[in-house]
């Protein structure tokens, strides 16, 4: 009984790899991205379908664990990379990606880009963005903190679940956010806040899952999270606490590789990512806000009141230089 199974497995394996190599011989654009972008609920499949009919080519998504995995894969491969385009780094990783010198200028007109600050980077193009925010369970919280300062310092503020900055993007986002709000006083703020932290998880999924299971009334997530519950579940139960002292911004970017064999195809794909066709599907597939004004309003689930008034961010260079030090300071304050 064992031999046939082994055979089947081997045959399947060979077929799969054979199929891959046949694929590679036609004109193919390879895009490295994070794997939830390519999942059946993400924008990947829709984008692939739309772009392939338009360009008469194959679009191949290579899905990696997350943005950091994307960058580390690129660094590991160096010049041997088979990627034409890298999609899904965020602003905190830009500087390090730039330093690999593997990227080519995008050469795309950025006039349409609709971010709070004018976009001037010549290598990276933003395709969507969002804000970190604390999502809460409205059935369990009445008195809501009005600012991050309030949340972190007020002894009566609710308990929260956050993510670890060493292993996740939102976790790092909160470090930067607190740094913006408190400056050098962030240490003492974290020390006070530590007693409110139920737990610090490896990634967003663990944190949000525990939150939905009522392990804490509040969780670090994105300001767009309530839109999901409204849009898909028709529920108003989970809302985001909007802070007057601002929200930290996360911008997701795309770039093309310098030694791409299909530079034109790659550049066209960059343009395509900024087109209405893609931008209009991002809110309800990637649950982020479009980086370009689409001409049509956002889906109803996205409320104007959940767009932050004060926007906080560091330049990629600032993040890159200080990240390690700030995490170390955070560890010193929270780990006891």
């Amino acid at each position: 009984m064992k031999t046939p199974k082994l055979l089947t497995a081997l045959i399947c394996g060979v077929c799969l790899s054979a199929a891959e190599s046949v694929y590679a011989e036609t004109s193919t654009l390879t895009v490295y991205t994070y794997s939830s972008f390519t999942s059946e609920w993400g924008p990947g499949p829709l984008i692939k379908k739309a772009y392939e009919t338009r360009c008469q080519c194959n679009l191949k998504f290579v899905g990696l664990e997350d943005g950091a995995a994307l960058l580390s894969r690129l660094k590991l491969e160096g010049n041997r990379t088979s990627a034409d385009v890298i999609l899904g780094l965020d602003t905190s990783l830009i500087a390090e990606a730039q330093a690999t010198e593997l990227l080519a200028p995008h050469g795309v007109n950025t006039a349409n880009i609709n971010l709070a600050v004018t976009w001037s980077d010549s290598y990276f193009l933003p395709y969507d963005f969002g804000y970190f925010g604390f999502v809460y369970d409205s059935e369990r919280i009445q008195a809501l903190p009005k600012t991050l300062r309030d949340l972190m310092l007020n002894p009566d503020s609710p308990q929260v679940i956050i993510q670890d900055p060493r292993t996740s993007t939102p976790g790092l986002g909160l470090i930067l956010w607190a740094r913006k709000v408190f400056g050098d006083d962030d240490i003492s703020a974290w020390e006070t806040f530590a007693s409110k932290i139920v737990t610090v998880t490896k990634g967003w999924s663990e944190a949000y899952g525990l939150f939905l299971k009522s392990e804490a009334p509040m969780v670090l997530s994105y300001t767009t999270s309530p839109a999901y519950h409204r849009h898909i579940e028709n529920s108003e139960r989970y809302r985001v606490a909007m802070f007057d002292d601002g929200h930290y911004q996360q911008v997701e970017v795309i770039a093309r590789l310098a030694n791409s064999k299909n530079p034109t195809l790659a550049q066209n794909f960059l343009k395509f990512m900024l087109s209405d066709d893609v931008q209009k599907i991002l809110p309800t597939t990637n649950w982020m806000l479009p980086a370009v004004k689409t001409g049509q309003p956002l889906p109803e689930a996205f409320k104007e009141s959940e767009i932050p008034k004060v926007i906080l961010d560091f330049t990629p260079e600032e993040v890159s230089t200080n990240r390690k030090n700030w995490i170390k300071r955070w560890l010193g304050a929270v780990a006891k």
Binding site: S39, F61, S72, V198, K213, E215
Partner: protein
């Protein structure tokens, strides 16, 4: 030369493992600038991490194995009660669960809004039990390792012959004397190996420690390796930490090696505990029922909660998704490939170990070889994966080898389970029938088919089923390599979680668990009969 001819398979496996272990660390280290061990060890943060890692691993091991001894003894004493087989089968589940699913299950019972706190609040104690912290880590590690230890220990108990029980009852031994004179000698030779596996598993634990540990104070070396590899991109730091982790685990293994003992040959007669003199007393019964009951509740409640939330989810929507079935198929291929590779590695190693014992009476050398096979748990899959990735990259086989590489990493990771399950009966069979086989000219494939295989097929079925189910439910390794649109089932589960589909994910989790059980069951039907 005749000695060498029987050793080649083991030497090949050991060399392969050393290349995998050493090679992946070296390759990873060579890819960026070097850092020194002394400077790393001067870092107070890292010292704290090391201390915490060792501390929690030792505690978890002591608790898991200690409790397992008590429960296994109770299970061994009650060799017949309705649902015993089902209970023991269900105990395989925690081991194969993706970590995030287990975390959700554990918090559903022990969390702030879990069953336990709901129960306590009935008595006016609002949220009085806090799982987050060392409690949570120990609880989760016990949840994972208690059933594994029970499964590995139970055969040792069952190897005590009926004649021995009768002799003991004739001699009027008390329950305590039974344990000291009969049971302990037959389990103590397996215990160090089992302790080592549990210790290594706890030592390298990652997401559980971080999430249930309650904060960054609960950080294992594995977390630091992940951080270095993924977010800091300091490959040499990651390699250094991996080397450090391996060294510490090796020290632990060598420490335990001192206690490894020769496997004693057993009579191999019918297994039956009904002749034990200590099973008829009422106190004895009460104690056993209590132990088995508590253990069953502890293990089965979180599992039940996972199934409960899965049943309430959108079952049809998830089941009718063709991608779910494609992902299951891909997971199955990985599981089968990993199982076959792992089986070949394990048999190659164990075969030579037995040969070594028969020919040269080299007990320590034999145990050392088995220990090397167990050490693979101590290498972070991330580091092995990165090593394999670099090898594939340099040999331009990346496009074709993804599936094989995932299977290979999984095979190496599950190897210890196979070695620990198969080697005792295999070596015992060798000891018992060595002369007879040589006399009859039974050797090679014939000896394996007729003599060894019937004896090891049950433990093999268990280990292979477990290893396969583990690879089937594996998330960490599959996520390292590109998924190319074709996901495995655990990766699909993470996609659902990442897309807010927590209800769908709980259905997928149950589906995944059921498939793991089915895989385990099928393997046991096919080869374990």
């Amino acid at each position: 030369m005749r000695v060498l001819s029987g050793m080649w398979s083991g030497i090949a496996v050991v060399v392969f493992l050393l290349i995998v272990i050493g090679g992946s660390i070296t390759l990873t280290a060579m890819t960026s600038t070097s850092v020194s061990l002394s400077s790393a060890l001067a870092d107070p943060y890292l010292i704290g991490v090391i201390r915490f890692t060792i501390g929690q691993a030792v505690l978890s091991t002591v608790i898991s194995v200690g409790l397992a001894l008590i429960v296994t003894r109770a299970l061994a004493r009650r060799s017949k009660f309705p649902g015993r087989r089902l209970l023991i089968s269900l105990m395989g589940l925690p081991v194969v669960m993706p970590v995030i699913v287990a975390i959700f299950g554990i918090t559903a019972v022990f969390g702030k809004s879990g069953l336990l706190n709901q129960l306590l609040s009935l008595f006016g104690m609002e949220q009085s039990f806090t799982v987050y912290g060392l409690t949570g880590i120990l609880l989760a590690h016990t949840f994972f390792n208690l059933p594994l230890t029970i499964r590995l220990l139970l055969p040792a108990w069952e190897s005590i012959s009926r004649e021995n029980w009768r002799l003991a009852s004739m001699l009027g031994m008390s329950s305590r004397q039974l344990f000291r004179l009969l049971e302990w000698p037959s389990i103590s030779d397996r215990l160090p190996g089992i302790c080592l596996i549990v210790f290594l598993l706890c030592f390298t634990s990652f997401a559980v420690v971080l999430t249930l540990g309650g904060g960054p104070a609960a950080t294992t070396i594995e977390v630091a390796i992940y951080q270095a590899l993924r977010y800091d991109f300091e490959l040499s730091q990651a390699a250094l930490l991996a080397f450090l982790q391996l060294s510490l685990c090796t020290v632990a293994a060598l420490g335990l090696l001192k206690w490894f003992r020769v496997f004693a040959a057993t009579s191999g007669r019918k297994v039956d505990a009904s002749d034990r003199p200590d099973i008829h007393s009422t106190t004895g019964k009460a104690i056993d029922v209590f132990c088995i009951g508590i253990c069953a509740i502890f293990l089965l409640l979180p599992i039940a909660m996972i199934f409960y939330s899965g049943i309430r989810g959108p079952i049809y929507k998830v089941i009718s998704d063709p991608i779910l079935w494609l992902a299951s198929g891909r997971s199955l291929i990985i599981a089968i490939l990993a199982t076959v590779i792992s089986m070949l590695l394990a048999m190659g190693l164990i075969k030579s170990v037995r040969f070594l014992r028969e020919k040269t009476k080299q007990q320590k050398g034999a145990e050392l070889a088995l220990t090397i096979g167990s050490m693979t748990v101590a290498i972070p899959p991330m580091v092995i994966g990165t090593g394999f990735f670099l090898i594939a990259l340099r040999t331009h086989t990346l496009a074709h080898a993804t599936l094989i590489m995932i299977a290979l990493v999984n095979a190496v990771m599950v190897l210890p389970y196979l070695i620990r399950s198969i080697s005792p009966p295999y070596i015992q069979a060798g000891e018992q029938y060595y002369k007879l086989c040589r006399h009859l000219g039974l050797s090679g494939l014939q000896r394996f088919r007729l003599i060894d295989w019937p004896i090891i097929r049950k433990p093999t079925a268990f280990a292979v089923g477990l290893g396969g189910a583990l690879s089937f439910g594996d998330m960490g390794v599959a996520a390292l390599f590109d998924t190319d649109g074709q996901v495995t089932l655990p990766v699909m589960l993470y996609h659902q979680l990442g897309a807010y589909q927590f209800d769908e994910a709980s259905v997928t989790a149950v589906f995944l668990l059921l498939l793991c059980v089915a895989f385990f069951w099928a393997i046991n039907q096919i080869i374990g009969r």
